[in-house]
Symmetry: C2
């Protein structure tokens, strides 16, 4: 599968590139090709140093990455995601777009600040062509832990989406990351629940002296 | 400590009566004294059959229970809680009131339907005298599992409240139930987050073939 990771040069994008590189064609995407290529080379070296296989991992601009991707991962901040997607509209056709986007503000603590549509995922769906299948997932996975390949990730990942096939594909991609457990979270209208859990988890971590909290439903 | 459990004859009230009976004076409360006494007798027999200690466990009407309680547990449905509390107002003075209340509606799935205050806990605080300390907790604990004394409950309990001392008391009460882990969830303004998790967990359980889901933050 061809996976383009928008925001692939930083934060949680790195973790997905490293974790999926053995099974898929990964495009690490950025506005600047040079930056993307450099990051992809770094990831490749990290995998090679661990003697791990990376079938195809390269860097390119966002538009190039999206163009022939089956799956597009949106690991970009909420504040820039809508402008970014609007500038890339001509390159979208029928990809699966995974939104990790969480609209939140920091005052003393973090607060979920959804747009009028009710969630970032629904706003993103509004902007993209109808043929694109938006799936919402991975909001509550720590970027640091995902990028640490020594770590087995014993977390649940709630996946929301209106297209059942697309949701299944993302649940399958989730299972490939040891040992994330995908759960069907229903339609995209439930995405606010998993998005709003991110500021809640950060606040909980701050107050109780933890860091990088994830969630398990038991 | 004197703990009055409103709605103590059914659902999750039973679990709290059984789990705290060894350490505290428990009043199982109901509108009808007879019903309350009968339930308390049943709980006592259950504990005695397991050769477990119950220092003081009795049944009484709601007003009697509240009057000399340090802690009042509200394990009543959202639809009746405000009317009930208004009818009992003269008996409240400076108790800690623990709200387990979740405003939700079932359509095809469950949906969180908070009042204009933002959460049930904040609405309850509005109704009660200012001297009463409202704490929000236990929304995501399964009634069935709580009442099963063979079960060790490996769950996190997020506790929200504006009075730090009252919150600490509830966190301590939580620790007494093996092996619940209390977490400081901040002020009562964060209660919507733990309340809304209840319909989310029920929907998640229905969709993924589980039952009585709880939550752990790891």
């Amino acid at each position: 599968m061809k996976i383009a990771i928008l925001g692939g040069t930083g934060s949680i994008g790195e973790g997905f590139a490293l974790r999926w590189a053995g099974n898929h064609d990964i495009s690490v995407c950025s506005r600047e090709a040079e930056k993307a290529v450099k990051a992809a080379d770094e990831y490749k070296n990290m995998l090679l140093n661990k003697r791990m296989y990376c079938s195809s991992l390269g860097g390119c601009t966002n538009d190039m990455g999206i163009m022939d991707a089956n799956v597009v991962v949106l690991s970009v901040p909420y504040d820039s995601v809508i402008t970014l997607l609007k500038s890339l509209l001509p390159h979208f056709n029928n990809q699966i777009v995974i939104s990790l986007v969480v609209p939140m503000k920091k005052n003393q603590l973090f607060k979920y600040t959804p747009p009028k549509q009710g969630s970032a995922a629904l706003e993103i769906k509004d902007v993209l062509p109808e043929t694109v299948k938006v799936v919402s997932a991975y909001h509550n996975i720590s970027a640091k832990k995902l990028a640490n390949l020594e770590l087995r990730l014993d977390y649940d990942v709630v996946v929301c989406g209106d297209d059942e096939e697309a949701k299944k594909t993302v649940m399958k991609l989730t299972e490939e990351i040891k040992t994330l457990h995908p759960l069907d979270g229903g339609g995209l209208s439930s995405s606010y629940m998993i998005e709003s859990m991110t500021p809640f988890l950060i606040n909980l971590a701050i107050r109780n002296g933890f860091s990088d909290l994830g969630v398990k439903f038991v």
